[in-house]
Amino acid sequence: MVVAERKPIEEILAMVADFKKVLLVGCKGCVTVCCAGGTKEVGILGSALRIARKKQGNPLEVVEHTLERQCDPEYVDQLAPMLAGNGFDAVLSMACSVGPQFIAKKYTIPVYPMLNTTFIGGALEHGVWAEFCQSCGNCIIHNFGGLCPIARCSKSLMNGPCGGSANKKCEVSPEIDCIWHLIYDRMVELGQLEKLRPVFPIKDWSTSRDGGPRKIVREDLKL
């Protein structure tokens, strides 16, 4: 899933400093799962903003609403009646960065992101998420025991650990596992170590963001 985290409250307060009434919109997709922008987090942020502004003697009216998803026009369309003539100064989106862009595309009103969209990843344990994919557009992880060196090696190395790998940790931080050490261990476990012996060829990044913004067209699904 897309993993995100909420921006610091100070940054958000600065964003909304000039507003009197905002629509705070959550998303029931990925950001609900990673506890960053679902109904619950909308409630928490809404209250925090109201309290902070009340303390400043400059109250802010925050209307809360959570959509099924913000990355689909059919759900974003549902905001139309709320935004029609209700005097909102801005929309605050608690979706990943796709949400605010979909809202901005549809409505002529300033839209602000409440989250920092961080990575494609998964939960390691309750309250801990890590990056697993860099969406390079051409998956090669089967060559590495199912582990991704592109996203999970700090240098995206494709041919083994750099000289900075020590005690299974990355030279960048002891908090980061050396994915190449994990790949090595996994290949030993699978009895496939010899697969790491050939020089892995230079990667074609044209399927990645380096080829320009990407789009998928599925003719079989188009209406």
Binding site: G163, V172, P198, V199
Partner: protein, 308 residues
């Protein structure tokens, strides 16, 4: 002969090779380079010029190599994968060759998070192994990665680094073998302090016939003080400094630690010379270039051979 550099000739004529290292200045001063180069003149076969080492911005390694060429010295251009994509790499390699640079050392590069611009975007379009293969393709096929025929082929003597002390140890000789397959002609290792582990590494490499396929140079970095030894032991990832050396430096008067460090380096040089498959040393006297002649003299490695 693949490139005809001085370093290659020293190896092919059967001499024990010695390379030094010059870290470019954090500024545009040519004087700093002239001064450091002066200490290395005549005492090493080739001078590595580091490429923004530890991700700290320094004068371009290509530019410094060219200055060395102009001084009549042979440089070994270090190139890292952190700051250049394949377009810039090939372009710089062609330019470097045109400027008279004949050796190139292909490296992954320290991560930019360590340096003075941790906010920077890194590249890592290719890894060090793949960079080696690019230099080889340019040289042996006369073609760019794209397949484009070159107008003028850069004949580089290709180097790579190896760290026998990184983890997992069992994979380190495999990494070496891969680098040789990719096209490395010579290898310079990370600084060696744990001699026992290095012997083990070289033994495996020798058994696998790798020492016949490339010239392996043992990395030596003299310890200037017990403080430096402790720093290397505790803060440089992938370095292995046994307590023996720390205790030895601690055991002598502070004023004599530098001399003791030189003594240790000379002993290490003598030890690595005894190891089958070691064809030279790479002396990395970090900000201590002026001690290089003294160390090499004491190690019996002077004068350097004159080759044609």
């Amino acid at each position: 002969m693949k490139a005809g550099s001085n370093l290659e000739k020293v190896f092919t004529q059967g001499h024990f090779a010695v390379t030094g290292e010059l870290g470019p200045p954090r500024g545009a001063s040519v004087e700093v380079i002239e001064k450091k180069a002066g200490y290395l003149r005549g005492v090493v076969d080739s001078i590595n010029v580091t490429d923004n080492q530890t991700s700290v911005v320094r004068m371009s390694s290509v530019a410094v190599c060219k200055l060395l060429v102009d001084m009549g010295l042979e440089p070994n251009l270090q190139m890292v994968c952190r700051d250049r994509n394949r377009i810039a790499m090939q372009s710089d390699l062609l330019g470097a060759y045109a400027l008279g640079i004949r050796n190139v050392l292909c490296l992954s590069g320290d991560h930019n998070r360590f340096g003075d611009h941790p906010q920077s975007k890194n590249v890592f379009d290719v890894d060090s192994m793949q960079l080696i293969s690019i230099v080889k393709k340019l040289r042996d096929e006369g073609k760019m990665l794209s397949g484009q025929e070159l107008e003028g082929v850069p004949k580089f003597f290709i180097g790579a680094a190896a760290n026998p002390f990184g983890d997992p140890f069992e994979f380190r000789v495999t990494r070496l073998a891969k680098k040789i397959d990719a096209g490395a002609d010579f290898i310079q290792t990370q600084c060696i302090y744990n001699m026992e582990k290095f012997r083990k590494y070289m033994h495996i490499a020798h058994e696998e016939g790798l020492t016949e396929k490339c010239y392996i140079m043992a990395g030596i970095t003299p310890l200037k003080s017990v403080g430096m030894a402790r720093y290397m032991a505790n803060f440089v990832p992938g370095l292995d400094v046994p307590d023996y050396y720390i205790n030895r430096l601690k055991g002598v008067d502070k004023k004599k630690q530098a001399d003791e460090g030189i003594k240790i380096a000379v002993e290490q040089i003598q030890e690595v010379r005894e190891i089958p498959g070691v064809k030279g040393i790479h002396l990395m006297a970090i900000e201590w270039e002026h001690k290089v002649p003294e160390i090499l003299q004491a190690a019996g490695l002077l004068p350097r051979p004159s080759v044609n």
